[in-house]
Structure formats: C-alpha cells, structure tokens
Subunit: 379 residues, 4 copies
C-alpha cells in the first residue's frame, strides 16, 4: 500500500499531511505527552517522569498505517501504540502513560487537533478566495449583466453585486470556521466517561491537559455525545456548500459565455476551454457533503461508547477535510483565472436600461466589502 | 384532501398549526403588511395607505391549500395570493402591496417567521426534557450501574452521571436553538436580489421591515445563498440527533431490563411493556435528519434564484419541524414515565466496588446541573 | 387537523388518496380479510367465519388519523383498529381476526399493497412521459443543436438524439418499476418472525394469504430485514433521479433560450416564461431522494423488530410516493408544452457542419424508440 | 504521498489494489487496447496497428497518481495518459489511439471494469459469510433463545431460525451482485454521446469493444445518464446494509452476553472481549452508505456531460468498494469466531416452553438453507 487511494484532485498537500495515518498518530502522541505533563502539573507524577514520557512521545517514529492495522487486529485501536510508547520507558514513566485515559480519549482528541489545523487551512483558503472576490466585485461594480432567476432572464444587475452576493456568505463562514476551531474540546473521560480514575483531581487534570493542547476543557467527557464532532463537520460542510454555489455559478456563466475560468482541454476537442477548477470544486464539495453526512446522519452512540458510529468518524473526518481542502483550493484557482466578457454580458441585456442596477450594485458591493474587510483585519 | 398526510405520530399540534399551508400563508400576509408599514416608515407611501394594506392582510381569510395550488398552476407560487390581497383595496393601496419585492422575498421571510415559532417550541420542549433529566440525575447520583462501551460491560458508574451526560449536550442545544432564532433574517431583494426597485431607501426599508417582524436585517438579500436556511435546519437536526441518542439509550436500557419507559402493548403479546415513546422519538428523529438533508445536501442555487433546490425547502422545512417537534415531545413523555430498576442494575455489577464511581458521579452531575440551571434562569 | 400538510405541488390526487392514513388503514383491513380467508382455505376456521371477518373488514368505516393516533397513544399502532374490527363480530370470528399475526405483519403488508398502486401509477406516468419524448425525438431527429459538456459547447448533435438519450433510462425504469411491483412480498411472521403460531400450516397460510392479495409469498418473514422495502424505494428513487435529469436539462435549455416549457409568471416580472413544471419536477425529485434516504440509509433493525428504523418507514413511504408522483406528473406537463426554438439552436452552432451528427442522431433515435415501443407493447 | 489515506480498517488488500489510481489507470489502458482491437475488427485500422496499440497499452508502466494529477492540472483527466500512450507509437498507431472516444468513455468504462472485480470479490465474501451462517443455523436449529422486538423479550425462538433470517437476504444479495456485474456496460459515445465519429460502424465498434472487455454493449452511450452507475452502487449499498444488520445484531447479542465474537481488548480494561470485527463491519458499512449517497443522491448531469456530479464518482466508487470490502471481510471474521452461550440463552427464557419455536425453526432453517444451497451450486 504505497499509493494514495484518493484521486489527487480530491485533496491538497496540507490536508494529505494532516489527515493521514501519520498525522493521526502524531496527534495521539501529542495527547499522551500532554496528559503526562498534566499529571505532573497536578502533582500526581514527578516532573522528570512527565518529561521522560513527553520526550518519548514527541520523538517516537512509528509506521503509522502498520500500527493502526495492528490495533484493529488486536481489537483495540490504540493498544499497539501505547505498548510501543511504554516499551522504551522506565517503569514509573511507563505506568504514567495513558493513566486514567481510554482509547477514545486519545483518538477523539487527536482528531480535534487535526481538525484545528484543517480548520485554519480552510479559513486561510477562504480568505484568499474572499480577497479575490472582493477585488473582482470592486472592479466590476459598474459592469452590467443579466440577472437570472430559475435560469431565466430577470433584468439587469451589476456583475459586481453578483460577486458580492457570492462573497457575503463566505465572510460568515470564515467566522464560523474560527468559532468551530475555538470550540474544539479535549476528550478525557476514562473507561466510563466519568474520569473516575482521576478522582478528585479529574477537573484539574482535564484543565491542564486542555491548556497544553490549546483546546477547550469541557464540563464533561463526550464519548457518547457526538454533537461536538457534528459541529466541526457542519461548519466545514456549510463552507463547502457555499463554495459549491460559487463554483457552480462560474460553470453556468461559462456556459452562457459570459466568463471563462481556466483552460481545461478535452481529449477529443482540443479547443475547448473547460472551467476545470470550478468543476473540480463542485465535485469535491459534493463528496465533502457525503463525508459530512457520515457524521451528521450517524446513528447515535450506544450508551457509553458507540459500536460503529464513532469508528466511522475515523474515515469521515479525513474525507471531509481532504475534499473541503480541495474544493476551496480549486475555487481559489478558478477565481484567479476568471475572465469577464463584458460585451457578451451587454449583449444579453439587449439595451435594457441598467442605471438603477448599477446604483444598487454600488450599495451591495460596499456593504459586503466592508464586512469582508472587518474579517480581514481581525486576521 | 381533508386528511393530514402525516402519520399522527410524526407531528405535534403546535407544529401542525404553524407548518401547514395556513401557517405559511399567514406568514406571507404578515410580511406584506410589514413591508407596507415600512414603506410608510420611510415616507414612500402615506400612513393610511399602509394601514389599509395591513388591515387587509391581517384580516384576510383564504383557502390556503387552494391558493398555493393555484400558484403552482399559475407558475408563480405567490401571484394568486397577491391578487387576492389587492382585490379588496383602493388603487393606491393595491399598488403599494408587494412593492419592490419578489415572491421569494415573501416566501423565505414567511418560512423564517414560521421557523421562529418552531424554534421556540423546540426550545421549550428541550427545557422540559432537561428539567426531567436534571431531577432524575440528582435523584440517581448514588445509584450504581454498569457502564457499557461497545455494549460490553465496562465497570461501574453512577446512573445519575449517565443521565447528566445525556443532559449536557441538550443544554448546549437550547442555546443553539436560541441563537438560530436570534439570527433569523429578513429576505428582501426584489427580482435580482439587489433591492434596486427600492433605490436609495433600500437599506432603510429593509431595516424597518425587519424591525416590524422581529427579524435581523442582513447586509444583503440571500436568494441564492442558502447558508441561512441551512443554519436553521442544522440546529434542529443537531438537537434531534441528541434526542435520538437519549431515546435510543432508553430503548437499550429497557432491553437490558434496567429501566421501563411506558407501557406500550403488543397486538400479539399483551404483557409486553414497550418503550413506545422512546421508539417514536427515534423514528421521528431519523425522519427529521432526512428532511434536514434536503437542505443540507441540496444542490446550490443557480445564479440569482434556484430552479428546484429552493422550492424543495418548502416541503423540507415543514418536515423537519413536524418531526423534530414529535421527537422532542416523545422524549419528554418517555422521561416522564421512566422507572429505574435499581436491583437489576446492582445485579449486573455483580458486587464490583463502585465507591469511586459514585464520587465521580457527584462531580459530573454537579457540573451539568449547574450548566442547566444557568440556561433555565435565563429562560 | 383538516388541512394537508404537504404543499400541493408535492403530490398528486392519486398518491394523496393511496398514501394517506385512510389508504393505509384500507390496506390493513384488506390484509386482515385475506388472512381470515387463508385460515379458512387451509381449514383452520370455518368458511362462514372467514366470510364474517371479510365482510366486517371490507365494510368498516373508521376515522383513520384518529385510530392511528390512538395506536401511538396505546403503544401499539394496530391495537385500536384490531379491537374495532373485533367489536362487531361473533366470538368465533373475533378470535380468528389477526390470528398468528403481529402488528408488523399487517402494517408492512399494507405498505406493500399501497406501494403496488403507487408503482403502477408511476409506471403509467413514465409511459406518458416516454411517449411524449419518443414523439419529440422522432420529430426532431433532423434538428441540429449544440451539444454541451461541462455546459461548454461541444459540437453539433441531433436534438432528437438528445431527447432519445433522455428517454433511454426511462425505458429501463419502466421495467424496474414493474419488477419492483412483481416482487412485492407478503409479511407474515407472527411475534418472533417464525410463524410459530401457525404451526405446520404456516407455509400454506402464507401462500394463501399472498395469493389473495396478489403478493409474493417469501420463504421467510422479513421483519428484521429491510432489503425488500429498500428495493421498492430504490426503484422509485432511481426513477426520480432520471426525471430530475430530464427536468433539469429542460431548465438549462430554457436558460439558453433554446426551448420554452410553460408560461410560469413572476410576481414582480409578468413577462417571464418560467419553466415552472420542470422546476417543480426537480424540487419534488430532490425531496423524493431525501425520503428514500430514510430507508436506504436507515440504521438496521435491532434483532427481531426495529426500534425506530422501521417506524420511520411509515412516513418515508408516503413521502417518497407523494413526491415521486408529483415529479413524474410535473415532467409530463413540462414535456407536453415543450416548444423548440430551432433558429436559436442553429445560431448557437454558428454554421458548423452537422451532417454527421444528424446521421448519428437517426441511429440513436431508432435504437431508443425501438426499445420504448417494446415496453409500450408489453403494456 | 506514500501513505494510504484510508485507515487500514476500512479496506481490504484486494480492494486497495483494484480501487487505486494504479487500478484505475490499468482499466483505462485495457479500454484503449480493446477499442483499437475493435477498430481492427470492423476493418477501420490494420490488425498490426491494433496489435501495436494493444502491446503499448498493456505493457505501459506509469506513475498513476502523478499522471492523474497532471490530468487535473491540464484540465483534462485523460490527456496526459493518452499522450503517454501515443509517445511510443508509430504515426498510424498513435492516430488510432482513443479514436472517436472521449475521456468519459475511457474513465467510465475503466470504473466498470474495476467494479466487475469488486463485485466478484464482494460476492465471494458473501458466499463465505453465507456458508458460515448456514452451518451455524443448522447447528443451532434446536437451540432456544429469547426473541426480542423493540429490544424487549418477545417469547422463545430457535437461534438457528434467527441465523437463517440473517442469511435469507444475503442469498438474494449474492444474486443481485451477480446481476449488477452482468449488467456492467461499455461507455462509448464520443464527444456528444452519439458516437458520430464512428459513423456507420458505431454499433459494430461498440459491440466489438464490449465483447473484448466482457461488458454489455448498451443501445446508447450514457454520459449524461447515471442510472447505470447508480445500479452498481445501489447493489453494493443494499448488501452492506444487510451486513450492517447482522453485525449490529452480533454486537447486541454480545451485549446481552448470549454470544461472544472476538477478543477485542481495551486499552484501559484488558479483560474485555469486544466484538471488534462486528463493530468494524458496522463502521465500514456506514461509510459505504455515505459513499453510495454521493452517487444515489447526486445532482443529475447537466446536458451531455456533468460538471461535477460525474467527477465525484471518481472518489465515490473507490470509497464504496473499499468500505464494502472491509465490511464483508469483517463480518466473515466475526462469524468465524462466533461462540454461543446456550446456558445464558436458556436463562433469559426463564423456563418458557419452546417446543413450538423449535419446530418453527426447523422449517425456517430448511427453507433458507435450501435457497443458499441453490446459490452455492450455481457458483
């Protein structure tokens, strides 16, 4: 298994790095290191024991697909990795590893750490798309074009206004992705989800572990509650749906001959100029929606830990982020080569007076670019 | 067509009232009244003209299914209703009706008004469920039970802690439903979505209309951007997924003989005690998820107005709210009759020491009930 | 509850009649009548007892929504209806009603009987669409038009060939709907699904009951196996997806100005000619797909009878058939008013030689119309 | 990108080989070889030209992910590969490569070839599961157990009957998978889907190409009609849903302590015996359903070739087959280690008379094992 099983059009380099077996194992190792640190923070183990665990975890090189496969074979996804960590340690340090935790604690938290990187990458991608749309909207505020409702001619509008209407939801998605990242929570509940093994120190250990990982410390563990993973996936899926909208509209406008967006060729008709990146964005966004549906439509967990629905997230999360990354990247490329045929747009209007539409367009463009600038300034 | 086509187990009286043809037409009439009022607010029409429109709209009795059916037949869902409103008015008032608006403005806004009532009803239902769970959790904090992961025995836990873990996401959903309601936005964009027909007064008219309806005035119209309807549906679907979780766990625990929840009989075995309301909650929640998927997985709108995806929302919104209402109501009933068999729970533990689990349970119950009390106090 | 909760655009008169509480109760009554007849057929009850049950069932008038609602309240969907049937009978006849059956037997079989009517209605609707497409394809075999791939110009093709390519999958769907109807199976398993209460006569009773209802007698009951309901829904959903394709293409071609399909007006722009029935077909087909997903994506039944997933079918089946009926009807209307602008089509070709395309079109149209004729002749 | 992005628990060695970039490119090369052979069959090119193309295609070694990635970058997924094939050929042979075909012809056909291998692998897996279920059913026909409806006790049944009820739908799925494989169709339509470039020889070329590939030659191309890919995916998804059912029931029965199925350990509780392969089957089946939904719920293709929906299939097909393969394999493993605790089963019955249930069980087991034997004999 040395080949990626994803078609290269459905991921990005960064998502391939983060949402891979290697990226997942790296997250688990960070978790185990942080937990040991937290145990020391609250005085349950010695600082040098914690440091020994941290050094082991953060320096460990493993064959990630192999160790995960052995986990499935062993019937416990984490056990081979925990044994590998403990193998090189002093008895005290070995006994501190994973203390009071259960496999779902480490796996869920690793997914949240991966999601944090993924959400930031998507946000950066949306910012790039947003900047291009903003510039295009300002450049085309006085470009009249035919509005189309149910794909039928519906009178004149400013092409800049159309671009601003594309941009407006992206501005909100940028905020939503940030909010989703800021809400990413630690998982730490032990076998029954009540952190009983951590006794009176349970809350303090959770707070310290979360702080070390840059995550929220929630009031309880959430093994059997997937509303938190749902929220992450829902934010990504909402973003992708809006990406799909803009990309789909680019394909339609290319169909009407009013824009071009790339020079995709055909194997049988070399002169075609297919809007290939817009098509790729649409395709990736659709698969993202299906990946999201694994989580959004999952059967709920049975009692303290799901027998199937949770494990399905292990594939759904990578799928969602790979394809979302590809969709945003493809939209960005498509916007980067968007060319507008103003004559064709005028022709479609057939001489209708468009003065009022341009005035309205100025208002719409101003309102949306202001909102985008506010997001851009916050970084 | 005098019979409901929904099975009575999949709705509630309130949702049937609000999410019906009659409820939808009522929302449209409120919209047209508010728009006329706003036109007067900004000085574009006389106050008494606005009052004439308002009186007409708010007093109008129509055969709602018939007028919507005629709309489909006419090829414009709103036209027969607009003509009906205008029929009884002075020329000035007739010309003020629906001025600068398009059918999607009225229909989307009416859906948002209906959604507002629906979200409040769901929130009230969740509060009732939450109060029952809180009381049960406090009553059972010292009741030991067997935790189950992958449905396998996983050691002792406090039954109160399990109930608190059920409650914790509901507390957040109550907030999310409130947030969703507070974000419900006016739709007012006219034919091309740029409110060009309202000229320089466009922003003022939108602000005044939104204020009269208790809605947010967004920076632009959102005919071709469904992220706002997605957000409403996503909040309801997230709620239903957690309802599904709790109800599903009740069914499982009834299967283990550790609780009973109702006295559902069998047509072939009269002594059975089926947890029928929990089953109904699970069934309704699954259909809710499918209704939500119409919106969450919809193909994006084509340019300025969707040719199909938007119209699908007209059925999806009622479906989502009917079934969500039924799911929450059924969970509430199920919790209201939940009986705990403490001896059976003890038996499953087989004498394992559970002292640490009860201590942990006290912590978990305290954390979650505090969070619920905070929500309850805010109302 | 005297109003339909479905928007009138999302159903047809026939589907509203069949997939309503009244239609469902009628199916259950037919089932109970047939079962009594079968018990007599194998000699377990006297013929006149069976006739008494049949007369009672087939003459019974009940308030269907009310009796189903009381079923939910009683915790057994069927119990109030069974009691109502028994109320007017002699003791012998009363004891013969529902003998050896369980509620799921009657409910599933009633759904299959409803599905039989629904599948036939859809097939008839597809035949009508197919005939229109065949006639149009033959009329336009020599009409050149621009092919479009990724919505980009892709050289000349025969418009008749495009119509034939739309028709080809419909021909197969007509067969698939017929196959689905021919596979509709009786449900008869009693409480545990093994028909134990019917003893040695179990197979004979099932065969006789199925024969009386025009259904297949399967080798076993299928309470916990939903592959049979899946198959029904999958056939309908596949049909709707192809309806969606044709309707969506009509909307696109109307957007390119190459066809018109109806005179849908706009509340703000009276001169528009919206392809409203094609849009309605697309909308209804999308909701149909979501209803199908309730069944296709359902969590599997738990052991001998599902706790939620099965009950969700009670709403999913009506939803699927209502919307499928609406989609097919709307496509049929749309095809009935389709007008082709041959000049506009020629203009888009810009003088490209299309002789080879017309020759190819003749071949494609001939192949598909032959396939349709074969289906049409079989009836 | 040297790591698989799929978690090892969600695929099998065979599916990883077939549904990989390498497996896809191999299918395309087979297609191009067969097309050249067919052109010679009908006399359009010389036999030795065809042999040159075939030798080149079947001997070509390429970096599959790289050449597909270059395809996306070039805006035509196939172009770099076609150029690579032509690079080593005489001018006559180079001009014969891909003659009259378009990229979708090669890609769709390659997917069908991959699907053929995948469907056979799934069928073999189901046969293995079926044989285990048949043997278990026969061994346990006289083992009484408690039936459970809505997870509540519902009286005695034969455990062998339960196993036979699990097996019955699998028998039909084996047939459905075979039917799906037998219906796999060639794609060959050229740019506009009418095979115009092949002129009068179009039907003969299609027949010859299909024959060389072991595929059906359909009456027309199906670029814009996805009912054929839907049918493949629907058959796999139906299979997975039944696998999910059996695996889910094993998890439930393990929860009731009536069976064990594997020795999955816990990282925090070493004595647990988790039914890990059953859990894996459930998880993989859920993801399979989501992958299927990409195809089953896809927006329909726009006119002659889809702008996004088709491209999404390139990821959906691998996803569906990887996870289906994993689900079937995991169920097979789970059945291979299934152990039955007859005493526990008897205990749950509490002395209820089960004689009639065993008699009924013998009937059910006989009916289903006969059906399975018939399938097994056909091979």
């Amino acid at each position: 298994m040395t080949e990626p099983t994803f078609d290269p059009g459905f991921s990005t380099a960064e998502m391939s790095r983060v949402f891979s077996p290697r990226g997942h194992v790296a997250g688990i190792l960070r978790y185990e290191a942080a937990l040991a640190g937290a145990l020391a923070d609250v005085g349950l183990i010695e600082p040098d024991v914690a440091r020994e665990v941290e050094a082991r975890c953060l320096g460990l090189e493993v064959d990630a697909p192999d160790i995960l496969a052995r986990g499935w074979a062993a019937g416990s996804p984490l056990l081979p990795l925990i044994e590998e960590i403990r193998a090189g340690l002093s008895p005290d340090a070995a006994s501190a590893v994973h203390r009071g935790a259960t496999s779902q604690d480490a796996i869920d938290t690793a997914l949240m750490l991966q999601a944090g990187v993924g959400l930031d990458a998507l946000r950066a991608g949306l910012m790039a798309c947003g900047a291009k749309l903003r510039d295009l909207a300002m450049a085309h505020v006085a470009t009249p074009t035919m509005a189309r409702t149910l794909l039928q001619p519906a009178g004149p509008m400013s092409f800049g206004a159309r671009l601003a209407l594309w941009l407006e939801p992206l501005v909100r998605h940028i905020d939503e992705l940030e909010e989703a990242r800021d809400n990413l929570a630690l998982q730490l509940g032990g076998l029954a989800g009540d952190a009983a093994a951590h006794g009176m120190e349970a809350a303090a250990i959770a707070t310290a572990t979360a702080a070390r990982l840059g995550l929220v410390a929630p009031p309880t563990s959430w093994h059997g509650d997937r509303s938190r993973t749902r929220a992450v996936v829902a934010a990504v899926a909402a973003t992708c749906s809006s990406v799909d909208k803009v990309a789909g509209d680019i394909v339609l406008l290319a169909g009407f001959g009013e824009v071009t967006a790339g020079s995709g060729r055909s194997s049988s008709m070399p002169d075609k100029r297919n809007p290939i990146d817009a098509v790729r964005a649409v395709a990736a966004a659709q698969v993202c929606a299906a990946g999201a549906a694994v989580v959004l439509g999952a059967r709920p967990p049975e009692l303290e830990r799901a027998a199937g629905g949770w494990q399905a997230e292990w594939l759904a999360f990578p799928l969602v982020f790979h394809t979302a990354g590809a969709a945003v990247e493809a939209l960005d490329r498509s916007l980067g080569v968007l060319e507008v045929d103003q004559e064709r747009m005028l022709e479609a209007l057939g001489g209708v007076d468009h003065a009022a539409a341009i005035v309205a367009g100025e208002r719409v463009v101003a309102a949306v670019t202001a909102a985008f600038s506010a997001v851009e300034e916050r970084g």
